[in-house]
């Protein structure tokens, strides 16, 4: 069966510090991978998605970036965090060829102070 791992579960970072969140999927090949963010009082906002290694689509202009160095690994990064980057970050995957049904990781609560 497929599983998705996301870490860390919680993170407190000062403004201006870098960020690296990692997500890995097991039990499937060539998944579509996604990063979503849920900010306070807001819904799930798509940040990045990837249909293959090195292929990243950005949905929202911001100081975040994503990379997919391996087939089942997706990394969310920032060089300098802003207060507005605080939120609940979710990694998700979907089977190749479909974006319709997503399977989410357990999320990372990021607090930028």
């Amino acid at each position: 069966s497929q599983t998705i791992h996301q870490w860390p579960a919680t993170l407190v970072q000062p403004v201006g510090s870098p960020l690296s969140l990692e997500c890995t999927v097991e039990g499937t090949s060539n998944p579509n991978l996604y990063w979503y963010r849920q900010a306070a009082g807001r819904g799930l906002q798509l940040l990045f998605y990837s249909v293959g290694i090195g292929q990243i689509s950005s949905e929202v202009p911001q100081n975040l970036s994503a990379s997919r160095p391996q087939d089942r690994q997706f990394i969310l990064s920032s060089k300098k965090l802003l207060l507005s980057d605080s939120g609940f970050y979710l990694c998700a995957w979907s089977p190749i060829g479909t974006e319709e049904k997503l399977f989410f990781g357990s999320g990372t609560q990021l607090s930028v102070l």
Partner: protein, 110 residues
């Protein structure tokens, strides 16, 4: 511009009664709709979906209704149970990454 709207941020229902969560969308090209359930500090989990060729899909206590002409869908939970208390997200797709609403927090009161 919000393509998927959940206009009720919260809903309280007594245990055993029906919960009705509503969702409106603006993009007529959406052809697949889903509901996700989310508990605090956890990722959302898939609940039920419906294709645009249908107007109803049922799975146990959960039923989703789709009204394409009104661009409206709803999730019915009957009977509601305390364990149903969570945030429910409506999502839509046109063979693109899912677009989510802001969610509705359901509280089922015993």
């Amino acid at each position: 511009d919000q393509q998927v709207k959940q206009n009720s941020p919260s809903l309280s229902v007594q245990e055993g009664r029906i919960s009705i969560l509503n969702c409106d969308y603006t993009n007529s090209m959406f052809d697949y709709f889903l509901w996700y359930k989310k508990y605090p500090a956890e990722g959302p989990t898939f609940l039920i979906s419906i294709s645009s060729i249908k107007d109803k899909n049922e799975d146990g206590r959960f039923t989703v209704f789709l009204n394409k002409s009104a661009k409206h869908l709803s999730l019915h939970i009957v009977p509601s149970q305390p364990g149903d208390s969570a945030v429910y997200f409506c999502a839509a797709s046109e063979n693109t990454p899912l677009v989510f609403g802001k969610g509705t927090r359901l509280s089922v009161i015993a």
